[in-house]
């Protein structure tokens, strides 16, 4: 199997290298063939791995591929850890990636950067696979930064657009803030265990839980809490949790396929995956779990609200992604790691679907993204419409579709949780259900229902997208429905085995599992619970305001003007960060440069020293007059002085 493991990331990498370096030579067809082939191979092999480990119950594989370097006995390696968690991630990543690759043929059809785009997304797939397959912190960080890099390249794919190259710089830097915490977390782990290997580190979690670290003089902090919080800073960056969420909405400047693949289905879930992977550490820290839970719940609710007022179709979905990532994060905080990963999976399918459907709409409307200029598209684009309906119902959490199972599990789990802040978190994620349904169906009604609002010329040429676009939509719609039925196995069962560790006291999913009697019972129970009714209420509200009586939406906007403005300004995070960090850094830099370097060091010390030498020299030079009688005079004076001293001494 080792060759299979190795082939999974290398196949897309090979595709990326060929398409990237020889893109001109092999042409467009060559580029998409070679990358799709690479990803298809990876997908097929991922299924093989899934069967081998999950279905056939093979034991966990944990071995190094090569040793990157050894310093002081600290082995820095590249290696694979393949267990059921990895297997699940492999299948999800390669499947969505494959769908996006195929879809891209249609979406990027007229783009001059066609080969480059394929090279990048294949490279992304490689990086993401390395991240999820890692068995150590070094490679995790590698994958972590590598996906960030490709995200940077892809957000700025249209590099002549000012907004795109602003967004990609912003995304990279905000992610770097997360990585800053992450690398410190890794450093703390190395300090405490002198190892980068997951298994070794997890094996010592028990010992770490008892140790402390002194950060502020005299105050001892629990070491494992510090480690977990630092690691979580990394997760906040990558998984766009408040307050490091600001990059994700702007990342929509990139082409839509990557919004689906990177900024919805896979890369942004890396943080969630990482925390789940680190469950043996997080379980020891109540504080860290509480922070994770509250941050996740806050993100889920407040980012969902912003989604309600967005008019750009992609931005609505982007805020929805933020909110759903909040759900996953909150699940982790409640120790319901399996539920978080389960939601990661279902969300990957239906969110990729929604993004790709949005992309289908966008190409049909010649790159128009403003929903106020859409409407009535269901008549022109039936496949896009129906798949969007599936995606929307799944996202809103309607029983029978994937999102319902995963989201309901998370809400129930948080309800049971006793982690710090669980009470607040429960209310936030519960209310978010209403918000989710509201923005999702607002989008659906504005885009597909009502009167067409685009200009006549565009309307005349409206038609369904080509097969390369619609087939991936349909293929993604299928798991958007059926993947939810795995809830009993993945979330409540023993799917993850030893990959995820939950302590007895936190085991909310175990508690839920005792009451779980099959999917039908779960659905029946769900229909009597508040989330379902809140979702229906959200849909109904959306119908009233954005379809039945659109003038009510306008009236509401005017009456609730202050709230609306706050939401539209996205709570002012962007302005604040621009002023404080971007502007502040430049102000500090200019101050240090002009006052520290130019005036103090160079002006006063360096050139000052030169001036002093010059000044002294000028004075001394004054004595060298060249007149013989001056020198003779000085000699006489000197002689008298010497004589005087001699006589005095005698």
């Amino acid at each position: 199997m080792e060759n299979v493991y190795l082939a999974i990331p290398l196949a897309p990498l090979a595709g990326a290298i060929v398409a990237g370096l020889f893109g001109k030579a092999i042409g467009r067809r060559g580029a998409h063939t070679v990358t799709i082939l690479g990803v298809a191979v990876a997908f097929a092999l991922s299924l093989v791995v899934f069967k081998h480990h999950v279905l056939d119950g093979a034991s966990v594989h944990n071995a190094a591929v090569y040793t990157w370097g050894v310093s002081e006995g600290l082995r820095m390696e590249v290696g694979f850890l393949i267990d059921n968690l990895t297997a699940l991630m492999l299948v999800v990543v390669t499947f969505v990636s494959l769908m996006v690759h195929i879809y891209t043929i249609g979406y990027m059809h007229d783009d001059p950067g066609y080969q480059r785009f394929f090279s990048y997304i294949a490279l992304f797939t490689f990086s993401m696979l390395m991240l999820v397959m890692s068995n150590n912190f070094l490679q995790l960080f590698f994958g972590w930064e590598a996906v960030g890099l490709v995200s940077y390249l892809l957000i700025g794919f249209w590099y002549t657009r000012e907004s795109a190259i602003f967004a990609n710089l912003k995304a990279f830097l905000v992610n770097r803030v997360g990585d800053f915490g992450f690398i410190l977390g890794i450093a703390a782990i190395v300090m405490a265990t002198h190892s980068l290997d997951y298994a070794t580190v997890f094996g010592q979690a028990d010992r770490l839980a008892g140790e402390t670290i002194s950060i502020f003089a005299g105050r001892e902090w629990s070491l494992i809490t510090v480690i977990c919080l630092l690691l979580f800073v990394g997760a906040m960056g990558k998984s766009a949790q408040m307050p490091l969420h600001v990059w994700l909405p702007d990342s929509m400047e990139g082409p839509t396929p990557i919004s689906a693949l990177i900024h919805a289905a896979t890369m942004v879930t890396a943080g969630v995956f990482m925390v789940a992977r680190m469950s043996p550490l997080f379980e020891y820290s109540e504080v860290a779990l509480g922070v994770v839970l509250v941050i996740g719940a806050l993100t889920a609710f407040f980012m969902g609200l912003v989604g309600v007022v967005q008019n750009d179709i992609k931005r609505v979905i982007a805020y929805s992604t933020l909110s759903q990532l909040g759900y996953m994060t909150a699940a982790l905080g409640a120790s319901a790691y399996a539920a978080g990963i389960f939601h990661l999976m279902t969300h990957a399918f239906f969110k990729a679907l929604l993004f790709l459907a949005a992309g289908s709409v966008i190409i049909a409307l010649h790159h128009e993204q403003d929903m106020r200029k859409m409407g009535g598209l269901r008549r022109y684009m039936p496949i896009t419409f129906w798949t969007s309906v599936v995606g929307s119902l799944a996202l809103a959490g309607i029983p029978g579709l994937a999102g319902f199972f995963s989201k309901d599990t998370i809400i129930e789990a948080i309800h049971l949780s006793e982690a710090p802040g669980a009470g607040l978190a429960y209310w936030l994620v519960l209310l978010s259900v209403f918000v989710t349904a509201l923005y999702t169906f607002r989008l659906l009604f504005l885009v597909f229902f009502g009167e067409p609002r685009m200009d006549a010329h565009t309307r005349e040429h409206l038609h369904e997208s080509p097969k390369v676009v619609t087939v991936p939509l349909v293929l993604l719609a299928i798991p958007s429905v059926i993947s939810g039925y795995l809830v009993g196995w993945v979330a409540f069962g023993d799917y993850f085995g030893g990959a995820i560790v939950v302590h007895e006291a936190h085991d909310v999913l175990g508690e839920l599992a005792r009451e779980y009697h099959g999917v039908w019972g779960f659905m029946l129970h769900g229909m009597m619970a508040p989330p379902f009714w809140l979702a229906l209420a959200g849909i109904a509200t959306a119908w009233v305001f954005f379809h039945w009586r659109p003038e009510l939406a306008e009236a509401a906007r005017l009456t609730l003007r202050p709230v609306y403005v706050v939401l539209e300004r996205k709570y002012g995070f962007d302005e604040l960060y621009l002023f404080l960090f971007a502007g502040g850094a430049r102000r500090v830099g200019r101050f240090l440069w002009q006052w520290g370097d130019a005036r103090l060091i160079d002006g006063l010390l360096v050139n000052g020293a030169a001036r002093t030498v010059g000044w002294v020299a000028a004075r001394v030079r004054g004595m060298q007059t060249g007149y013989l009688y001056h020198y003779a005079f000085a000699m006489i004076i000197g002689l008298i002085l010497l004589l005087a001293r001699y006589l005095y001494a005698a």
Binding site: E72, L138, L184, A188, H194, A585
Partner: protein, 501 residues
């Protein structure tokens, strides 16, 4: 081949070759001879790597001949895991610099080429010398060709820059000479290895340490004696900047490892707070300063200072770790990280200066504002530039990551706050590197000059390609380099933890 006096050849082949180039005069032959000599030297340095015995900290390829018997001065050469990689870096970079100057230099070509070859010999001498007088001779001799390179082929303010460069560095090394002579008076030997064993009192050690600090801190350069570097870089021709950043700065870091630490371990421990402070200021303060530069070369020069801060930090972490934990766990990680950072910075800063050179040759401006949207007309160049900028911001998979990662890992053994301040480079480094990329490379074509740009020619492609391979190779597989320096670093750590008092 093993019996050849390899180190002597590495010193004298380029020097004699350089003299031949001078003799050949400004004909077309001069460049070819220069390239031949540079390549020959590179080839001669390869057996150094292949024949190097891993697993020992002993000096290798040693040569010993009496030189000035009356004062016990010897022609004594040898390399260990610390100096050998730096010699390879020198021979590699010199070839690239010769190629890079091929068409660009129109004026006194032979002298230009000769200066670089002679400089190469001197620098190899600095790294290989095991006798303090020999070291000092090479150390000072090195200044002359560089002085000429900046002074003759430099920009409009070259006179100010060369004087500043010369006086600054010369000022530092005078104190070093005094302390070398003092130690001769104590030991009766000029052997650096004897100095390392010489027992010295704490006051003596501190004075000697400060004298060395004067010499090496200016070379590195460390804050606050760094201001000569941006001026020198801005005025230097591209090749001069490359050699300056890639190799001459390393001599400072090398000096700390070869002289300060082993000769004055107790003073190093005593004053480690000062070095750590200066290094962290370099990382943070200089990071902010780099952010606001308008001139590409200045930006890269400041970024060099910040990156070299990691080297000095990594080298001196051992004492901070000793003081914090009482042990040396994590110290080798930092020291090796500092060493890797030196080699890596050699590649990356060299590459970035070459990139600026490529643009300067076409547009004749180093101002960031004069560019924008270069990717539209120079896509191949843009790929290289983005790669090197990312490497400069420490992206994993590139060499820039290795050293920073190891030093941050090591720093947390000493103190959380040292690690935290060091790790700010993740943000600051990315900010100034990628903001530069955004303004120069991305965007719409900014003006007619950018619109008229021609992409890389074959010569430029070879030079940048070679550096790209080096950056990626070291980033993906630093193991061999770590193995080479490991025993020497371990031995050094063992040596400095034993007090001389």
């Amino acid at each position: 081949m093993v019996d050849w006096p390899l180190l002597s050849l590495l010193i004298w082949v380029p020097i004699v070759g350089g003299l031949c180039v001078l003799a050949a005069g400004d004909g077309p032959g001069a460049k070819r001879i220069a390239l031949g000599v540079a390549v020959a030297t590179l080839l001669l340095s390869i057996p150094l790597w292949t024949g190097f015995e891993r697993g020992t900290a002993e000096m290798q390829f040693t040569e010993f001949h009496p030189w000035i018997g009356a004062f016990n001065v010897n022609y004594h050469l040898g390399v260990d895991g610390i100096s050998m990689p730096l010699i390879l870096l020198t021979t590699f970079t010199t070839v690239l610099v010769v190629i890079a100057g091929w068409e660009v230099i129109q004026y006194r070509v032979a002298q230009y080429m000769a200066a670089f070859l002679i400089l190469e010999g001197f620098m190899n001498g600095v790294f290989a010398a095991l006798d303090a007088v020999l070291f000092y001779v090479f150390f000072e001799a090195m200044l002359i060709p560089m002085f000429l390179i900046i002074g003759v082929w430099g920009g409009p303010r070259r006179v100010y820059a060369t004087l500043k460069f010369f006086l600054y560095t010369f000022f530092g090394s005078v104190f070093m000479l005094v302390s070398l002579l003092y130690m001769y008076s104590q030991s009766g030997s000029f052997s650096i290895l004897d100095y390392q064993e010489l027992r010295l009192g704490l006051t003596e050690q501190i004075l000697i340490f400060l004298a060395f600090l004067g010499a090496f801190a200016i070379k590195v350069p460390m804050w606050p004696v760094h201001t000569w570097l941006p001026d020198a870089h801005v005025e230097a021709p591209t090749g001069g900047s490359v050699i300056l950043a890639a190799i001459m700065l390393k001599i400072g870091g090398y000096g700390f490892l070869r002289f300060s630490l082993p000769i004055t371990p107790d003073a190093s421990a005593e004053l480690t707070w000062l070095i750590v402070l200066m290094s962290l200021v370099a990382v943070v303060y200089i990071g902010f300063v780099a952010l606001v530069q308008q001139d590409m070369k200045k930006l890269i020069a400041y970024s060099s200072i910040a990156h070299m801060g990691f080297t000095t930090l990594g080298v001196f972490l051992i004492f901070a770790i000793l003081q914090a934990t009482g042990g040396t766990v994590g110290a080798a990680l930092g020291m090796q990280g500092g060493m890797v950072q030196m080699v890596s910075h050699g590649f990356i800063s060299g590459a970035l200066f070459l990139c600026v050179g490529v643009l300067y040759d076409r547009v004749h401006s180093r101002e960031i504002a004069a560019y924008g949207g270069v990717v539209n007309t120079m896509p191949v160049f843009a790929s290289f530039f983005v790669l090197f900028a990312l490497a400069n911001s420490g992206l994993p998979g590139t060499s820039g990551f290795v050293g920073e990662f190891m030093v941050i890992l090591s720093a947390l053994h000493a103190d959380f706050w040292i690690a935290l301040l060091a790790a700010t480079t993740l943000i600051l480094g990315a900010a100034y590197s990628l903001w530069l990329v955004k303004r120069v490379i991305f965007g719409k074509v900014a003006n007619e000059q950018v619109a008229a740009l021609q992409d890389l020619n074959a010569r430029e492609f070879v030079v940048l390609g070679a550096l790209a391979v080096a950056v990626l190779a070291l980033g993906l597989y630093p193991g061999p380099l770590l193995d080479v320096m490991g025993p020497s670093i371990d031995q050094l750590i063992q040596h400095v933890t034993v007090s001389k008092l």
